[in-house]
Chain length 234, copies 2
DNA sequence: CTTGACTGACTGCCGGTCAGTCAGTAATTG
DNA sequence: CAATTACTGACTGACCGGCAGTCAGTCAAG
């Protein structure tokens, strides 16, 4: 094949971007290294010249995505003109009017096949965003809107619950089940952070009025996927 | 090889048990179907006679484990002689004196390689145990020790946070970081369920005294694993 | 004789390796 | 300055070992 030499950063970026697209289109496990290099137009060896393994490029993709998110988050967290609540709204609100960047987190293709991508992203999101949110919480304590003992650990817990329960499709909830869980998540966050009830309404846009009406016992879906056959298939 | 015919249930159980042991010893991904059948002493075809795929047997293992846990949990939940708090202690307490069965959940080998096993187990544990815990919470509400709006969804959130944050080694926390997070988890649960502070002390045995001293800002570990190389390896 | 448990050679794919090739560039020389 | 050489780091692709999954066929038991 024609031998085309490019600047290493270009090549690397090329491969990462293609891989990211393909992973989201067909899933991580369903996308072989072969597929990636065919699409980029390089040899197998080139891939392994830039990445030490297939999981390695997955990590690179997650890192890249998270670097963008963390940057945005830090910009908001460091803004001295905003109150803690305003910062929370900016970071956790679903309504990013002009700024589509942070939507990427939620917008990841919800292929069930993308367990690997989702899990890694979830873990890293919690780990890297929590310190930033914790600082905002501390500002909120100073401002008198929050009251918590251990901001970092508390945020980590809340973030983990929210992220794994309602993002990434791990539990296979229906749209309605998700809606309800997001509502309850909001209530728990407010209670735990000692914030006024309803103050995190931005997490569930357009639902400010029904905060207290979310009663009744919805059943969670039972085990997802096909039931394990108890007897051998004849 | 000698052809030995066994009762299907026996065979199936044999394969499941061997696979379970091997998965815990060497990890799911590192254990090929070859390894399993060699250990059991059957042919490849026999494996695929009982299970349609490798993920399928993983699901069977998780199902089996969870059936045991759910059974125990239901036994406790249905016991009319216990208060809600006693049931909570029995289910969530780490001190299972004579009964080693439920230890299995926590005792799963903490191989980092066992992501697949851990994730599936975590999800199913939350999904299947939450309804049972929710019933206990409702009993607790009647008894006046709890106060919550949406027991099921609340429990699911709390359970998810606790399970994913502190079990399964996903975040790579150190022993100390884990200890602290378990303490905070306890506090959050109490606050969220409207239970008296310290009433869930059984979650952190031997630490009843330091409930309020867990101050100071521990840093979470940064991104786990090797840093993604920004430049190619020369 | 029928059925259902069981066999194991075989297929196809995939992640990963490596010895070697080639492009671009710096150093050397006429 | 142009031509030649030496060098290095980007790049290649045939190849390897291993693995999940298939299937035509064998055998035991009722």
């Amino acid at each position: 094949m024609a031998r085309i030499v490019k600047a290493p950063e270009k090549r690397r970026a090329e491969i990462v971007e293609t891989a990211e697209r393909l992973f989201r289109e067909v899933g991580y496990a369903n996308c072989s290294v072969e597929t990636i290099i065919r699409e980029v137009g390089v040899a197998k060896g080139t891939f392994y010249y830039y990445f030490k393994s297939k999981p390695d490029i997955l990590e690179a993709i997650v890192d890249k995505t998270l670097r963008q998110i963390v940057e945005i988050a830090e910009g908001i967290a460091d803004d001295p003109s905003l109150t803690a609540m305003q910062k929370m709204a900016a970071l956790l609100g679903n309504s990013h009017i002009g700024n589509d960047d942070s939507l990427d987190v939620a917008e990841m293709l919800h292929l069930p096949e993308n367990r690997e991508l989702h899990e890694l992203t979830n873990v890293q999101t919690v780990l890297q965003l929590s310190p930033i949110l914790a600082r905002i919480v501390e500002q909120g304590i100073d401002e008198g809107v929050f009251e918590v003992e251990n901001p970092l650990e508390t945020i980590q817990f809340l973030f983990t619950g929210a992220q794994f329960l309602t993002e990434g499709d791990m539990f296979g909830f229906s749209r309605d089940e998700l809606r309800k869980r997001r509502l309850v998540t909001q209530a728990i966050i407010e209670k735990t952070l000692g914030a006024p009830p309803g103050s995190f309404h931005f997490m569930n846009p357009g639902r400010e009025l029904e905060q207290r009406h979310a009663q009744g016992k919805t059943q969670g879906s039972p085990a997802r996927g096909r039931a394990a056959p108890k007897a051998p298939q004849p």
